[in-house]
Symmetry: C2
Subunit: 141 residues, 2 copies
DNA sequence: AATTTAATTGATAATTATTATCAATTAAAT
DNA sequence: ATTTAATTGATAATAATTATCAATTAAATT
């Protein structure tokens, strides 16, 4: 979980070279339980004294999204994307309406309903996303 | 539903002047059943030979959102906002993963579950949003 | 109805998030 | 150690949105 190239295997499997930056970003994504913006990842790297270009952060995140290693999503009404590790579990988000912080929640009350929807308006249903809004403890003051 | 200033009452109630542009935009929002981007609204107005500045479209939409007359949301992974009339009903969206078109759906399987979540991680739950993904008939070819 | 006043608009510049470009660098295959 | 193709940094470009400010217009007041 910390150190140099812990993600060599994952990267090799995806046909990607194991680089300092990719390993560092995967480390950040792995330990965090909140989805992060590209800029937040960039700042975390800076805090760790890892020099990197913001464009490289975007590029690495996008590459990992295209490989399915990382999931990209967005908060409604915020015009920026957030990224988190794809832990291969069906998940949803809890979003603070104050600070827009996103927290992951497990469980899904929706599977049954989705089956009922099959064929709705001629769509082939492939999945869903549930965002639950609320005010986080910090924003409650 | 068509014509000049059908929304004078709504606008007055919100302390907004009744202008040609605001009425035209409310008309477009009222008749559409799909959420629209600011640009789509702009183009619809153009088709109707209503000369308007794109910045005015954004401004009017934002003003109406702040009054709660219009709802702003966004499709995951698309970095632009969409707007639709606030019909004061609890609603969700069906999004085509091909063309990103959004269609509104009624009904919500979630009310029970939300109650269970009360207090989750110290959040005060205030609402939720459900996006159902699929492939629309057009994108199925 | 004419005048006043404050809100609204258009045109444009500025900003923010993201993506593209391309030469320099680096990982890993040989 | 050398080669080769992938990766990176720096920067420019783009796309969506927001800010600015002078000109225009709605509606309140006379």
């Amino acid at each position: 979980m910390q150190g140099g190239s812990d993600y060599k295997e994952i990267l090799k499997k995806e046909g990607l070279k194991s680089t300092k930056h990719r390993n560092a970003i995967l480390g950040i994504m792995e330990e965090g339980d909140e989805p992060l913006t590209a800029e937040a990842v960039f700042l975390k790297l800076k805090d760790m004294n890892t020099s990197i270009s913001l464009s490289t952060v975007y590029r690495i995140l996008e590459t990992l999204v295209s490989k399915g290693v990382i999931i990209k999503s967005s908060v409604t009404c915020e015009n920026k994307a957030v990224f988190e590790m794809n832990r291969m579990e069906h998940k949803h988000h809890l979003v603070c309406t104050g600070c827009k912080r996103m927290v992951s929640v497990e469980g899904c009350p929706f599977e049954e309903y989705e089956k009922k929807l099959k064929g709705l308006r001629g769509f082939d249903i492939t999945g869903h996303k549930l965002e639950i809004y609320g005010v986080c403890p910090d924003c409650k003051r």
